[in-house]
């Protein structure tokens, strides 16, 4: 019996591993959209403060509002168009309307095998915006990815 131990052990363990080892299709649990994450700051206090009302939509896309008189938006998320080199947005802060333009370049990024490929962006340093409600814009992190970190600060 002792003599045959290794052979028996091999067969039993092989069968066990064959049963246990199987391919599984994974699901995507990760964020796949790379969005500009913009935090609102009170210009006077220089502290984080969400506006009382925010409306945001892409230029000429009034029917597809990203935020519609929303309260407590912090941060606001701006999707960039990977098919173009710039994206313009209409932003209404507390009833005053401004326009923000982002200029950037886009590149494909593999999020994961399960989640597939998404476009990441690199923001230009240009800050193009009107100044009705917005006083200033600060670009902190130019890399627009799926990572949850602040990219720009909007002072109003």
């Amino acid at each position: 019996m002792r003599k045959h131990f290794p052979r028996n052990l091999c067969i039993i363990l092989s069968a066990l591993f064959l049963i246990l080892y199987s391919c599984t299709t994974g699901s995507c649990y990760e964020e796949t959209d790379a969005l500009v994450k913009a935090s609102f700051y009170n210009y006077k206090t220089q502290k984080l403060q969400a506006p009382d009302s925010v409306t945001i939509y892409g230029l000429n896309m009034e029917n597809s509002k990203l935020y519609n008189k929303a309260k407590g938006v912090q941060p606001a998320l701006f999707p960039l168009n990977a098919a173009t080199l710039s994206s313009k947005f209409i932003i209404k802060i507390n009833g005053k309307t401004d326009t923000i333009e982002f200029r950037y370049n886009s590149y494909p990024h593999l999020v994961s095998k399960e989640c597939g490929i998404s476009f990441y962006h690199n923001l230009d340093t240009d800050r193009i915006f009107t100044r009705h409600a917005i006083i200033n814009i600060y670009i902190g992190n130019r890399n627009i990815s799926t990572v949850n970190e602040e990219n720009i600060r909007i002072f109003y």
């Binding site: 131990f5 290794p6 052979r7 052990l9 091999c10 067969i11 363990l13 092989s14 591993f17 080892y21 796949t32 959209d33 892409g58 896309m61 597809s64 990203l66 999707p79 168009n81 990977a82 098919a83 590149y107 494909p108 990024h109 593999l110 095998k113 399960e114 597939g116 490929i117 998404s118 476009f119 990441y120």
Partner: protein, 253 residues
């Protein structure tokens, strides 16, 4: 002249003692083999799914009863599609290293192997994304990524078992744990599958392989299975109990 005689007599005496020492050890004849084999699961999965072909073969030569030099080589043609992209890759890989048998020669007998392998691997492959799409605020954007070739170097640790089920025919499996050490791949477009390394271009990869091998015995070596036990030192009485001391002293008297 007398000194020369004395020298030769001493030499003969020493040789006789040495021979008697060797004869006191247990030895077995251990067959060293050259093994030629292939991985089974890759072709089987290909026959079932008709999608991804992963073919791998190996040749190994026993250096002694414990160590064997091993060379694995293979080819992989891997396709993967998910809801928003398609990925194609194909390439070759080679792994070289040693297998270490942890079984005692008496148990192993050149037929059984329970041990581990260490390998250094290199993979050269081409990959492309013919199409991918992303649903965005602006609609679905479609694009593609052109083919590119890359190199990946990795280390492999592969414990497993193997048994000779028929004369000179073995089957076995190994669990392979691989660590990527160098890659020319892009940070943003890590390969989903690296031939020889496995799924994903992450730092670590794990997998299993099932092997069938044909064994060709090429040499037999004599392996010592049990060394002669050293003679026990005589009891001088220094470490014994007081009773023993008394007994020893009694004998001396």
């Amino acid at each position: 002249m007398r000194r020369i005689y004395a020298f030769f007599i001493s030499l003969q005496f020493f040789l006789i003692l040495s021979l008697s020492h060797v004869q006191a050890q247990d030895t077995i004849l251990f067959p060293l083999k050259i093994k030629v084999g292939f991985e089974v699961s890759g072709p089987v999965i290909y026959l079932i799914e008709k999608n991804n072909l992963i073919a791998e073969g190996f040749i190994s030569a026993d250096i002694n009863e414990k160590y064997a030099a091993v060379l694995n080589a293979g080819y992989a043609d891997y396709n993967y599609s998910q809801y928003n992209y398609e990925y194609l890759t194909n390439g070759i890989f080679i792994r070289a290293g040693v297998d270490i048998n942890l079984l005692q020669p008496k148990k192993s007998q050149g037929k059984y192997w329970v041990g581990t392998g260490f390998r250094y691997g290199v993979s050269h492959f081409s990959s492309e994304v013919p199409v991918f799409g992303q649903d965005t605020y602006y609609g679905t954007i479609k694009s593609s990524i052109a083919p590119r070739t890359d190199w990946v170097h990795f280390l492999e640790f592969s414990p497993g078992v193997r048994a000779e089920v028929f004369k000179n025919l073995s089957i076995g499996w190994t669990v392979s744990l691989k660590m990527l050490i160098y890659s020319t791949t892009s940070k943003d477009l890590r390969p989903i599958y690296v031939p020889g390394f496995g799924n994903s271009g992450k730092l670590l990869s794990a997998g299993m392989s099932y092997f069938i091998s044909f064994n060709i015995p090429y040499k037999k070596i004599r392996v010592i299975t049990r060394k002669e036990e050293p003679e026990e030192p005589e009891d001088t009485g220094n470490t014994g109990t007081s009773g023993n001391r008394q007994q020893t002293s009694g004998i001396r008297q």
